[in-house]
């Protein structure tokens, strides 16, 4: 057998394995998409997939009858607002930690690393109690509601993101830019806002996407914080929708899963190379 035939056979086997693995991995996704298009009555009576009876009825019912749109809206409010707050705090602080010299800088940086070691579960009881205090102090404005959730996500995402910003400015923003601005009489604040901020676009985009997706995907904190069903985010709402009501809600739940994943899936897959590279680099560097 010559080398070429050997290579061809090897290639065919490789593709067969890959197709097999991919089909096996995507089987659950296929089942969900299929369930979302089936009638709930047919779903459990007939066991075979009936392509002729597929419809978007579940999607229509989901949007019309359940609180799905409300959950999505709440999720977007919380994730969007906390991402914005977090970005504002971390950009300014990251810049100061990168460029200025001040007493306590080293300790501050150290603190930002060390507190990343605390697992989220460590603080949950105390956060619950803290929100209790805020609830009373602010008359329910910041408490067991979306505002409380925004507050928690803003703070919790700062340490990691601030390190990313600081690292980016250290590595990719030349000091000469600001020095020439100082020559032209700019203040420190002006140099930061007019010169440095505009060229921080890429890192700000990465941080915004990570922070948004991270908060969108979280279940632990909203399950503790949110008590009123009108405030539920997608994670808490969907769990209530399916747990204990499997046979009744399965097909609508499937539709909700498809709709709820789509925004994240589209962003993730279209920016795949960019995101995976950033994530893996970050992970490999620790």
């Amino acid at each position: 057998m010559n080398k070429k035939t050997k290579d061809t056979i090897f290639n065919v086997i490789t593709h067969l394995i890959l197709v097999g693995v991919t089909v096996a991995v995507l089987m659950p996704v296929f089942w969900i998409v299929n369930a979302s298009l089936q009638d709930v009555g047919n779903m459990f009576s007939g066991q075979n997939v009936d392509f002729s009876k597929m419809s978007f009825g579940n999607y229509a019912e989901l949007l019309a009858e359940s609180d799905f749109l409300l959950w999505i809206k709440n999720s977007f409010i919380v994730c969007g607002t906390s991402t914005l707050f977090c970005l504002m705090c971390t950009c300014i602080a990251g810049y100061a930690f990168s460029r200025f010299r001040f007493v306590g800088k080293k300790q501050g940086l150290m603190m930002m690393i060390i507190i990343q070691m605390f697992p989220a579960t460590m603080a949950m009881v105390a956060l619950y109690k803290l929100l209790n205090v805020f609830d009373v102090a602010t008359g329910g404005f910041i408490g067991f509601n979306l505002a409380g959730l925004i507050l928690i996500y803003t703070g919790a995402n700062i340490p990691f993101n601030m390190w990313l910003i600081k690292g980016y400015i250290d590595g990719s923003v030349p000091k000469e830019l600001e020095e020439s601005a100082y020559m032209d009489g700019a203040t420190k604040w002006q140099a930061f806002v007019k010169i440095v901020l505009p060229i921080m676009g890429p890192i700000m985009a990465v941080i915004a996407i990570f922070t948004f997706i991270g908060s969108y995907n979280d279940f632990l904190i909203p399950s503790i914080v949110l008590q009123d069903s009108s405030q539920y985010t997608l994670a808490v709402g969907l769990r209530g929708f399916i747990s204990g009501k499997f046979s009744m809600n399965w097909t609508q739940f499937a539709a909700a899963s498809v709709l709820g994943s789509l925004p994240i899936l589209v962003v993730f897959l279209s920016l795949q190379k960019f995101l995976v590279e950033g994530l893996t680099k970050g992970a490999v560097k620790g």
């Binding site: 991995v25 089942w31 369930a35 010299r101 605390f118 340490p159 795949q272 620790g286």
Partner: protein
């Protein structure tokens, strides 16, 4: 430049530091404080310091059995998750990294989907797929001929080992529960202890392997091809190359990832709680058979309102995970950056 001590940098860092103190630092310290109190449903408004009583309770005769069995399962769960994800991820990465493979990017995009979908959605989705009576998994098993006899055979085989284990270690009071295979072949994935453990692990492997695959691919591409060329000139086989070049080269880049993944699995609340809620219940214990330390702590706090005790568990988890992170930081030299 300025010699005097300026205060303007503090204005820049003030908002960030304020939020970090309020939301991260203070609550974590406060949790430690609460772990020394009897804060609970019955002592909600007024609670007292009780010293080490919560810790003594965890290690005391009534609770220690629960603690040890939950801790043991947490270790098994974390280790099997990381090891399985790594093996599957690396195997796929090795195949996808083959030079001249057509459609490599296409496969990679499809295989990343379990990672790209929000995990709470995928885990909830699996609760439906694994439903005993209506789930697609049992439905599929019942429709593929010979699959049920194969699974029954495997189950009997494993149960044989379980029996041997139980006989050998009975003097230590250790015992494993055997798998139950119902006569109609409908496997109780989420409602029977051993099956539920299998199910949460399988789901977690499915969720986690794309991440390992992506990282392994990046790491594999970082290995210089000259190493392989030189060794094949020396007549090394592919298998020798894998063990003598690939694995040692991956070690430095993958070890921190594996440690981080281990602590992630250790704390993977969603992977357990949304699938089985820690259940099925175990007689004589507040923890269910799939409860890991984190989900048990959550239950103690928010289902059973034993806040003080939950905080003690949280502190124990932190000590375990914190020491692991410290090793990781030391290994990767993160502290050297400043």
């Amino acid at each position: 430049m300025n010699k005097k001590c300026d205060i303007y940098p503090y204005f820049y860092i003030a908002p960030a530091v304020f939020f970090v103190f309020l939301i991260v630092l203070f609550p974590n310290i406060y949790s430690v404080v609460l772990s020394f109190t009897n804060y609970s449903l019955f002592h909600f408004e007024h609670y007292d310091f009780v010293g080490l009583k919560n810790y003594a309770k965890i290690l005391g005769s009534a609770e220690v059995k629960t603690f040890l069995s939950v801790f043991w399962w947490t270790l098994v769960w974390s280790f099997c998750s990381v090891f399985g994800q790594f093996v599957i991820g690396l195997a796929l990465a090795l195949v996808l990294n083959k030079k001249g493979l057509k459609g490599s990017n296409f496969y990679r995009t499809l295989l990343i989907i379990p990672w790209a979908v929000p995990s709470f959605i995928t885990v909830l989705m699996w609760t439906g797929l694994l439903n005993t009576d209506y789930g697609s998994i049992n439905n599929m098993i019942s429709h593929i001929p010979f699959l049920t006899p194969c699974i029954t055979f495997l189950v009997n085989l494993i149960n044989g080992f379980v029996n041997i284990f139980n006989t050998v270690f009975s003097f230590l009071g250790l015992s494993l529960s055997p798998f139950v295979m119902p006569a109609n072949g409908m496997i109780p994935w989420l409602t029977d202890g051993p099956w539920a453990k299998t199910a949460v692990l399988v789901v977690n492997l499915w969720l986690g392997f794309p991440y390992m695959m992506s990282i392994s691919l990046g790491a594999l591409q970082g290995i210089s091809s000259e190493l392989y060329e030189a060794s094949s000139l020396d007549g090394a086989s592919k298998i020798t190359q894998f063990f003598k070049i690939t694995l040692p080269q991956l070690r430095s880049s993958m070890l921190p990832v594996l440690i981080t993944s281990f602590s992630f699995s250790f704390n993977n609340f969603v992977g357990i709680y949304l699938l089985t809620a820690g259940g099925p219940a175990v007689g004589g214990s507040q923890a269910g058979s799939t409860d890991i330390l984190v989900s048990y702590t959550y239950k103690l706090a928010f289902n059973l309102s034993q806040y003080g005790l939950a905080c003690s568990y949280a502190v124990l988890i932190f000590l375990l995970i914190g020491s692991l992170s410290a090793i990781n930081f030391k290994a990767t030299g993160a502290f050297k950056e400043n």
